[in-house]
Subunit: 369 residues, 2 copies
């Protein structure tokens, strides 16, 4: 039965502006070796997924700027499985396109979707959790894999579950929660009913597409026509006509939240050493090395990149430009060196790096973004 | 009368460690365009001196690592006027070697000596002051040109004069003073009797060499034998034999201070916009541009080097590596980018950059020095 085959989708978008200047629009974080090995985040994701599905069933949805990078980094991925969006239309469009293409290739197939830029340390437990979620998907649920939270993180959204979350036990998701305040996040953790939303989804493509069609025909209709034309000589014309009309909306907002209210969403709590490589603090906490005198560094660049901290305190150095980076007498700083740009940032301002990139764009420095 | 000709000596040594990583052992500050033009400090010094003496009378004393750089930057300087020391033996050896070589070329000539890494804005007044000092030298004094102080600087030595220092009026130097405390420096300035010692000397070579021979035969004797061999096919052998025996001593300590006690040293106060380009604070104060948001930058490198400061306060950026250097939310920092090294330094620790370079040497990073 082909319908029992698992298809895995990896939306590979977003430039990771909080990791600028390491991550760039043209060279985003998922193409970087932010994994503690020489594999990129995307490659590590691919490595983690190939035991779950054959390469013919793996799809990457990416943008025009990254199609070549994806193709080069994943030589075993068939060309037809790299879906290139003309421009970004948020997660609902990307996931719906993948679902519709898969549905046409394998009606009633099960599809799982995982971000390209997450780290997972326990791949066996991950595979086990996905298998459990596939069971729920076969039963007709829109499944998520929620991450068992380890701290009251304010940077993620949460899933409110119907009962105390237990590893590998399927339960209903009652509600999707936006990023909370620290106070609220602390309450979530204490209750035991909340999981981190890591945007990991598992469902039958026919179930998902029916939900989408019922709730958001403005997304479902053009995506359906685009999927019909996908791989034909009409693909480009149809994309040119319809893609610009697809609304920009997150899949959580368009489908999952309203479906959860109707009891159609369930989750498997996952506890497999998950991390979102979102900012330099995380990169250096997970992958960095203590270099003494108050310094911690992470190197992913040329071998002769070096960091030297003297009389420092809470200094993060990312020498990725093949140069020596030395700091003297400084504290609470992030210093990032790359081939063409250097960033020196107060640690308390790390979340504003995105704003800095906007300022650079306004000043005509878009070539560095 | 050839003895009336002026010879000018430029000791070009020292790597300028307080300007690391801009200034390097192999590419010291005097070879850098730290002048506000595309001329290096050495070239600007040469430009200032050529009106005072023909190129045949200009000598540069430098080290083995910089001979080629000096030769390339000063194409009009005859080869024989580049005196290359086997290794540095402090200022007395360098100046004595030049004096002895000049004395053999032009007995009783007048020699003036000026550092290669100072900036002077009023070159006409400088020439006028030198001419006045040459008068004193012809009268047999060991002349200095003292700089009329503009602030109670603790980073320079001082000259105590016999009377209130007045521009272009020759007066006795009673004493050479080491770098003072702020309190002492303030008293010096208030008294009006003190000038900054910028190691600018003017004297008859025969007078200087006689003083040296009387006070420091341990320097004078080997230097005399080396000068005898200079330009002959014995030069190298004699240097190999004698140069290592030359004591390392500053000319102030060896000759000028004791001579001053005997009333043989005089000075002409100079007021010609003099600056010692010693550290990044000075570079950026004199040559920098206000770039807004609390940032000030100085660029001497590739044209595409850029500095962007966002929400900064007292931030100095020296982008000399052809890269964009961006800071976000930082204060009181010096950020220097070069082709192979980046420095991020607290402004209060700028005087410790020399220490940082020593740490780098100890750690095996001498290639960056």
């Amino acid at each position: 039965m082909t319908s029992s085959e698992l298809h895995v989708v990896v939306p590979a978008g977003g430039s990771g502006t909080r990791l600028w200047p390491l991550s760039r629009a043209g060279n985003p974080k998922f193409l970087h070796a932010l994994t503690g090995t020489d594999r990129s985040l995307l490659q590590a994701t691919f490595d983690r997924l190939t035991p779950l599905a054959p390469a013919t069933n793996l799809l990457v949805v990416t943008g025009t700027a990254h199609a070549a990078g994806v193709a080069r980094q994943l030589p075993d991925l068939p060309d037809r499985n790299i879906l290139v969006e003309p421009f970004a239309r948020d997660s609902c469009a990307a996931i719906a396109l993948a679902a519709a293409v898969i549905e046409r290739r394998n009606p009633g197939g099960v599809m799982a979707s995982f971000a390209a830029d997450h780290l997972i340390t326990d791949t066996a437990e991950f595979a086990h959790t996905v298998a459990k979620a596939v069971e729920g998907a076969r039963d007709g649920y829109l499944m998520t894999i929620g991450i068992t939270p380890t701290r009251p993180e304010t940077g993620y959204g949460y899933l409110r579950c119907s009962e105390i979350a237990r590893r590998s036990v399927i339960q209903r998701v009652l509600e999707f929660k936006e990023k909370p305040s620290l106070e609220v996040a602390t309450r979530y953790i204490e209750s035991g009913n909340y999981l981190w939303n890591a945007s990991m989804f598992v469902w039958r493509t026919d179930v998902f597409l029916a939900e989408l069609a019922a709730r958001r025909p403005d997304v479902a209709d053009p995506i359906s026509r685009i999927a019909d034309a996908w791989g034909t000589d009409h693909q480009e014309d149809v994309l040119a006509e319809l893609w610009p009309t697809v609304p920009k909306v997150a899949v959580e907002y368009a489908v999952m939240e309203p479906a959860a209210e109707e009891g159609k969403v369930a989750t498997v709590p996952g506890d497999f050493g998950w991390s979102d490589i979102g900012d330099f603090e995380t990169v250096v906490r997970l992958l960095g090395t203590d270099i003494g005198e108050g310094g911690r560094s992470f190197t992913s660049g040329p071998a002769d990149a070096r960091a030297v901290v003297v009389d420092g305190s809470d200094v993060i150095v990312v020498p990725a430009g093949g140069r020596l980076v030395a700091t003297l007498g400084v504290r609470d700083l992030i210093v990032v060196d790359t081939a063409d740009a250097v960033l020196v940032c107060d640690r308390d301002r790390a979340q504003d790096i995105k704003r800095l990139t906007e300022i650079l764009r306004d000043r005509g420095d878009a070539e560095y973004l």
